[in-house]
């Protein structure tokens, strides 16, 4: 057995160490931010904090939670995540069902499919998109965060491929018994594909929560920003001019510890759903889509 040879054992020890180091490298930056967020301002500004908080305090979280703009941005993010995900799922389900049928059952299926895929591989670019949003009056409205991305072609294709794997006999039996397509869709495909839909929901939620650019582009008033856009403005651009806030408040949200607390709160929902996500994507759906 190769497991017992000396050279393999040396390799194995080396390999375990390497994997451990790489895995820790992936998480250390986040741990550092967490440590800073729980440290006192003096320790953080003096760059003393490593991976463990110094002078443990909840001060920065208290300050963050007392900021009404921050709280409102969380609310906007929750709203867009819930509404956006719901809408995406309904539309993906309704679109994937007919597109998963054979050409003989649904004439012109390929044309429709390509219409969907075309939007995925070609875009007019940023400017025309911006103009369209402006012309249809979505600027500065909450719905601009939800509607343009409501049809998620990628997730639709994943679901479509999943539907194809559902045994045809189920559908045929139902059709013979006199069920219509709506009945088949809701009474057979919906329950059968619930695990798949749950996975898509998780992915869609992550996407919604993480989106920041649409908010930056289409919303002029920082008070309407979702959390990701808020963080982008405060932490990356360090630009608070659009928020019409006093210098005192500005100091409040721009210290290092508070910034770290904000970053961590922004990442928290992802960390919470992450275990569920991992359980699903490894088990198949995403992988299935890329299989030969």
């Amino acid at each position: 057995m190769y497991h017992k040879t000396l050279s393999y054992r040396i390799f194995n020890v080396f390999n375990i160490c390497l994997m451990l180091i790489i895995a820790l490298l992936c998480i250390i930056p986040l741990v550092h931010v967490l440590a800073v967020s729980f440290s006192s301002k003096a320790a953080a500004d003096g760059n003393l904090v490593g991976l463990w908080p110094i002078d443990f305090t909840l001060e920065s979280y208290k300050k963050t939670m007392n900021n009404p703009i921050f709280l409102h941005s969380i609310w906007v993010s929750i709203k867009r995540t819930v509404i956006g995900t719901g809408l995406t799922l309904v539309l993906a389900f309704l679109a994937a069902y007919p597109l998963s049928k054979e050409n003989s059952a649904f004439k012109g299926r390929n044309i429709y499919s390509w219409l969907f895929v075309f939007t995925m591989i070609f875009s007019g670019g940023l400017v025309p998109f911006y103009m369209v949003i402006q012309k249809i009056g979505l600027m500065d409205s909450f719905w601009v965060l939800v509607l343009p991305g409501a049809v998620n072609v990628y997730l639709t294709i994943l679901l479509l491929n999943f539907f194809r794997g559902v045994p045809k006999e189920l559908e045929e039996a139902a059709l013979i018994d006199g069920a219509g397509h709506f009945r088949v869709m809701f009474s057979i495909y919906l329950p059968v594909s619930l695990p798949a839909i749950a996975t898509l929901a998780l992915f869609s939620m992550v996407t919604q929560w993480n989106s920041w650019f649409d908010g930056l582009l289409y919303l002029n008033n920082a008070k309407d920003y979702p959390l990701a856009t808020f963080l982008q403005t405060v932490i990356i651009q360090r630009d608070m001019s659009s928020m019409s806030i006093s210098p005192k408040e500005m100091e409040l949200i721009s210290t290092k510890t508070v910034k770290s607390a904000q970053i961590f709160i922004g990442a928290l929902p992802i960390l919470v759903v992450y275990p569920f996500l991992q359980k699903y994507f490894a088990s198949g759906l995403v992988v299935g889509s890329v299989k030969e």
Binding site: S7, I22, C26, G125, A228, Q232
Partner: protein, 264 residues
């Protein structure tokens, strides 16, 4: 719009048609040529490493026999994929800062002068590529690990009987078995040659590194939305979209031909 000297107050119908002027301008302006070059160089490095690193990593990961430990490693390396560049950008700006960022502090311990990761053009490109690998390599292994799990174990048993070492087995069984999937992944990634990662660069760059770090997407955003050169911005964007679409179509065709891969 791409063919107009577009003025918002004149609208689509009122603006002057200028034919291909915007496109000619694109190839005459020095900064836009530099931007195209930046995009290509950053994207190509990312494509290569984002294929190679997960490939090697998944083989090594597959050698781990303690399932608990394997799970643990997987859990940690997949995580950055799900965090947005806003979060990661905020973290990176903090830990890479020359003013006591944790990375430069660690380098200081081994006697290296602080490096201006996000303020020096060459280091910026380096940082962009490395941080992108850091974020995505874990998730990239998902596909390879699935392929590795599908390798027929009798192949290894036969090799074992014939006295092949583990290294030989890897070389002659493992690697050939996952090469096809690597080809598919690599081919499909071709469509991204002009995508150097807007989210990432936008959240990491600053005016110090515009020369070497500016890419097509960020350039379009700044010229069109911030500077108001709508017509020109549209032309650059359209140029990119068309090239990208052609590349995607070619890559789909190739993936279909070589590996019988279809998206739906």
């Amino acid at each position: 719009m791409a063919f107009q000297n577009y003025k918002p107050w004149l609208g689509l119908t009122g603006s002057e048609w200028v034919g291909l002027d915007n496109f000619r301008y694109l190839f005459e302006r020095e900064d836009s040529l530099q931007v195209i070059w930046n995009t290509l160089i950053i994207a190509v490095f990312k494509l290569m490493f984002n294929l190679g690193v997960p490939f090697v990593f998944s083989i090594l990961l597959n050698e781990l026999r303690k399932m608990v430990f394997k799970r643990f490693v997987q859990t940690l390396v997949y995580l950055p994929h799900f965090l947005s560049w806003v979060i990661l950008g905020g973290i990176l700006i903090d830990i890479l800062s020359t003013d006591g960022g944790i990375v430069n502090r660690a380098l200081g311990v081994v006697g290296i002068e602080p490096i201006f990761f996000l303020g020096n053009g060459d280091w910026f490109r380096f940082t962009v590529v490395v941080s992108d690998i850091w974020k995505e390599f874990g998730f990239g292994t998902v596909v390879f690990l699935a392929a590795l799990a599908n390798i027929n174990p009798t192949l290894y048993e036969a090799a074992e009987v014939d006295g092949a070492s583990r290294f030989k087995q890897t070389l002659h069984i493992t690697i050939p078995s996952i090469i096809p999937i690597a080809i598919v992944v690599g081919t499909l990634a071709l469509g991204n040659v002009l995508n150097a990662g807007f989210d990432q660069i936008f959240n990491l760059y600053n005016s110090l590194v515009y020369e070497k770090g500016d890419i097509i997407d960020t350039f379009v955003y700044r010229t069109a939305i911030l500077n108001g050169e709508m017509g020109f911005g549209t032309a650059v964007g359209l140029f990119k979209s068309v090239i990208s679409m052609i590349l995607i179509l070619i890559s789909y065709r190739l993936a279909y031909k070589w590996a019988n891969y279809r998206i739906f």
